[in-house]
Symmetry: D2
Subunit: 407 residues, 4 copies
């Protein structure tokens, strides 16, 4: 009788855990913590269904990887069982280094420490625990494994991570236009000269994938109200850290306190103790603390926090033209008066910034279309229309966030 663990997934139906090692990795607290880290942070303030976690996403990406392995093998691509398991593990753990609300946290607290680097730190730890059995997975993850196409499935323009998150984010936000036919794209994958390629007849699906990604950027990831919420949390974390460094006592869970009150650099993370503390941190530490701070004696922190908790988000403008220099200054001046705060604190309530997106990058990790005669072309050249190369140009937008109490 089968003892295979199966997860229900509203996106793909069922997800099967392929091997005992994979099951053990999923059961580890490092991985279980991802159950409490939402994939899209505060996006649920705009799309209430967007509560799916990095845990579920990692399982989904693993599932697609298993499908890709099956397709590639059926086309004669050599992937032995060890490589298959290593690839699956690399995909499963690729995002493990994410902390809660990483957009805000990475800017306010763990600045300069990439989540990929933390993922690798976690993997090293798990590798020790499992007597080196994760070495090949780490090699693939770091792109030092000889078969380069395996890394391209972990991280590339058309990797299993992207295929899953586009689908999953579309599904849970309800923005159905972002749905990608991952089935179809995966069935079109092949390997040529150790490079992951897409068969010629998959070209329209790839175009669609790139367009869907772009749509998700503007409709979801960079939605102006999502930006407003994330920037509000960012300002809260900055303020809390500022207060903590000044010696102000703030209620917070021990793990959160640990990171609020120390300088957090990559060197800092080299200590095992720090990694262990980081592994204790999730969305609930941050949000439970923010709720308490609504009653902080620090007026700035209290106002910012109650704005977040009660969804009184910044009024945000998102535009193609840069924000005129004087505008921000004017609003900050107004903030001082209206809110009765110090000039130094005005930037918490009125500020500008930029966001950028390019749906496709013309880099060495591009998407290759393989023609029946064996020719390889980059999708940007292969596409009937030039729009793909246009999509490769980054779109920069400028935003202005103003606290609603200023109106």
């Amino acid at each position: 009788m089968s003892k295979q663990k199966i997860y229900n997934d509203p996106v793909y139906g069922f997800i099967t855990i392929p091997t005992p090692l994979v099951a053990a990795l999923i059961a580890h607290p490092f991985f279980q913590r991802l159950r409490n880290i939402k994939q899209l942070g505060l996006t649920h303030y705009v799309y209430p269904g967007a509560l799916h976690t990095r845990f579920h996403h990692a399982l989904g990406a693993m599932h697609l990887t298993m499908q890709a392995i099956e397709t590639l093998r059926s086309k004669g691509v050599a992937i032995n069982d060890d490589e298959a398991e290593a690839l699956i593990i690399a995909v499963l753990l690729h995002d493990m280094g994410h902390g809660p609300f990483s957009h805000a946290l990475e800017n306010a607290i763990v600045q300069g420490v990439q989540h990929e680097w933390l993922s690798l730190r976690f993997m090293q730890h798990l590798n020790l625990l499992h007597n080196g059995k994760l070495q090949m997975a780490m090699d693939i993850f770091m792109d030092v494994y000889p078969k380069k196409f395996l890394h391209q499935l972990v991280s590339g323009q058309l990797d299993m991570d992207r295929l899953d998150y586009l689908n999953r984010d579309s599904f849970f936000t309800g923005v159905t236009e972002g749905v990608v036919s991952s089935d179809r794209i995966i069935k079109m994958l092949d390997v040529y000269n150790d490079t992951l390629v897409v068969e010629q007849k998959g070209i329209y699906s790839v175009e669609k994938f790139i367009t869907a990604r772009r749509l998700m950027y503007w409709q979801v990831y960079l939605h102006k109200t999502v930006l407003a919420a994330e920037n509000l949390l960012l300002q809260i974390l900055k303020r809390a850290r500022f207060l903590a460094f000044k010696g102000h006592t703030l209620f917070a869970t021990p793990a959160f306190t640990y990171f609020l009150t120390q300088p957090v650099t990559q060197a800092f993370f080299e200590q095992d103790e720090v990694l262990q503390q980081f592994a204790l941190l999730d969305d609930t530490d941050v949000f439970a603390s923010v709720k308490v701070w609504c009653n902080s004696t620090d007026k700035v922190l209290a106002l910012l926090c109650s704005s977040l908790v009660n969804r009184n988000l910044y009024k945000t403008t998102l535009q193609t033209a840069p924000i005129e220099s004087g505008i921000v200054q004017q609003w900050q001046t107004k903030a001082v008066t209206v809110l009765g705060i110090k000039p130094d604190d005005a930037a918490y309530f009125a500020f500008a910034g930029t966001v950028a997106n390019n749906a496709y990058q013309l880099s060495d990790e591009n998407i290759h279309i393989m023609y029946k005669d064996g020719t390889l072309l980059d999708i940007a050249q292969a596409s009937d229309n030039l729009n793909i190369s246009v999509l490769a140009q980054p779109v920069v937008k400028h935003f202005l966030c103003l606290h609603r109490n200023l109106f």
Copy 2:
């Protein structure tokens, strides 16, 4: 240009907020707090997608109510605009009184206080705020409004709450068999002699609804691993409260501390202060605190908490026959030895209980089928087969929970 607020919903597509009063109620912190209370508590430990909140469910039930109003009006049922808004509000706010993880919380902490009663307390508060504009909604909710069928849409065998939660829970768990054709059922609704009825041709959809509900009970709501997780949290809360009453200092958010350290009765809740504190409590307070308790000096609490956080749930047996009396005692004895705990504490690690489900109740709130000749029959009699009346008999199951460290 429209200023109507629209929510994306992966279940129904779009949900439109009908009136400014409804929009104001949704914006209130009492309602916003539901964003952080999962509809299905710890069910996501079994079905990782089940992270949807009471916020989203309330919006969904409201949406179905608007559809029902439209259908009934199109059949000539008189519902004026005030009644429509009141009905919508009654449905929207009907579950507002839920706290975090209510199954566990209501058993361990706020025992004896029904969430419906708390919903009403919240409504009273909001009614004052809005100068009595919620009176009709409250009358419908309490079933003192003359048109009785309106209350039946709020609370009955076939109410909008159930229609939404079955659909939503099916959707997010991925248990597709639980999907109910709410569209079809709503289109079949009518009112006869001030009673909500279903047209004859809707009989099979109603049968399907009752079967789906039953399936969801056993497949999801009473899934043995879900029971294991909920009972684990229940034991944690009991232990924490036990320690708190003994004077043991426990880390917790202020709002959570408030409820851990005081007797929580209905009388207690009569105080406005208590309601305000309750409104501050959500899933994050509980989970963030439980995580900290993993390092408690109380061995029992620490073990229970780390079991929950690392998903080391009770090994659970669910069976039709009662658990033999000696069995629990044997396991408790073993627990004392194996875990090195006091006999008094053994019941945290080995215990038995019962769960019950009846998919349909033969009560005065039953489902009436209206025949073309005007006859009304209860669905249990109207159904071609007798299975519905069989479904009305409650199914009781007995469970045994044993901590995994005992094996």
Copy 3:
């Protein structure tokens, strides 16, 4: 590079053709003809989406069979590659013997010849063509192959045919309540003592499957307007055959003429020529001819045909009580007067009949639930509630069809 043929399927996503022999069978005209035979005959008169063909259904059932083989093999059930291909072929071809509008046709023309028998005749023909390579498939189909569980996947209470048609019919009619989680059921399948069984935890899915099947019967297959349309076509075919046998010349395609003008018995079908003619017949022959008959000089035929073509279907009553004997006679008398037809022809315009359905049969092909301790129970006993055994009792309903010109 893969040369595997892949079909797009809105129900399952993609369907892959597993072997060259299977591909060759699909390409044969005997199988291609199924592209023009709708799975649900005239049901599209009620559910306009129900246009899916026996071709698509056969591919779908094949797809599920491949999934079942994968699941069973993963649980250690021995199925070698030859058996797998034979099973797939048996499922693929099991319905090949269906003619157009088989409900009507089998009653009016090829009475007494089962479609299973015709499927076998087709298989014999294809087996000769492929030098005996279909022998094992035929053995499985006829249940003479030693591993009995293989036949149970082709034909049984829970066979791949039923799983597919319930899903497919739900999908294309839009009656979403009929959706069966074929994925989940298949994942629960196992084999015990050469018998196909369902794991204990699959019990609710099986209950749901049986309920869904029952719902589809009353909501779709035996919908009174579907009955009206099928009975109208049945009367048309009876009349056409009556006229043809009387020597009346009727426009029809040659293949259709062949069957309208000869006695069609099983013995008749033993001739290869007859099978070849039958293979030329599909929905278009029947409908194109019926359209022409709207202008027949035979008043009865013309009226019946224009009623079908213009969707002027019988007014139909479906009830639990038998139709009172005098009623039909009264309406027939009225038909003679109102329509100006001969008394002998009145039965074309007013008649009664019965339909029956039992969602589950307590036969030797029942559904076995396997408990963890190895016990096998029939689902009717295993179910918590008795409703399954109730469902096993056939429901007979009586109908009365009256031509609308009588009102």
Copy 4:
């Protein structure tokens, strides 16, 4: 009690018929005939699910129109009840003039007669029948009604016809990337200066719509195997007509014979008799006849027909570069030898052609985006990227069809 007719639709759930006049139009034989005309002709040879009919599509477009009316009215756009019904009728009947397999038929038989013109002819007939009640619908259809935006909903870059067919064709083919969020687009519609516009925030949905349309062109509508099938039918019809005009007797239904044996011009269609005959013609006449022609004494016709019936379609090349002039000649020469046909008939078996697609046309019927300040911009200018204007350039592809017996 409601007597509103409701259709089940797997795409939208339910479609309600709004008024008795609309119900009467749907019941008319002119409209009922659409039940037997597939929306996508022979596309089901590639996508077996693509069997949906023009009947279902027309109902779907009507449904979206009702949604659009509701949205526009909620934004204060004046549409009175007469206009609403007229608009609904115009959309419902806009495609009524299509015959079976129109791509092939319009090229081979009714050349030079537009289906829109035939739709209008049908409307005129129905208008007489309903005492002029369709006049406003016809005015909207012909764009002579004062409120121009109504016509834009019937026929324009973003009309209800396109929204429905993209969704419906995606749904039934299973090419899920073509799914358009019609809900979202419709919710973004508004009217400004009597012009249909899209609100600014709908820009990405419109981009997605245009990309989806382009994808559907290459993936479905102009799929090379679909081209192969349609061109094969086109050659069959040409040959049949050629033979018929030469006096060769061909089996065909009377309605089909009528059009095979006469010159079919617009003038010809001015006769009521012709329109009545045309209304009798559907897919079954054509396919049932083609099947009979497999045994024609004309070798060319017999070979072409059996190729279609048994899905032995042209081997087709689709390319950006034009087909070299000598190639076709070479293959035609080969055809004469290999197939033993006359040189004059070689073009039935080897020929070249072109297809074109532009996903968006920069015409006066373009899509306008309305900014919050009231500015209107064409989507091609409003889009962040230039790809839309690129999409407006038609893509021409060249194809070469060669009968498989030549290989």
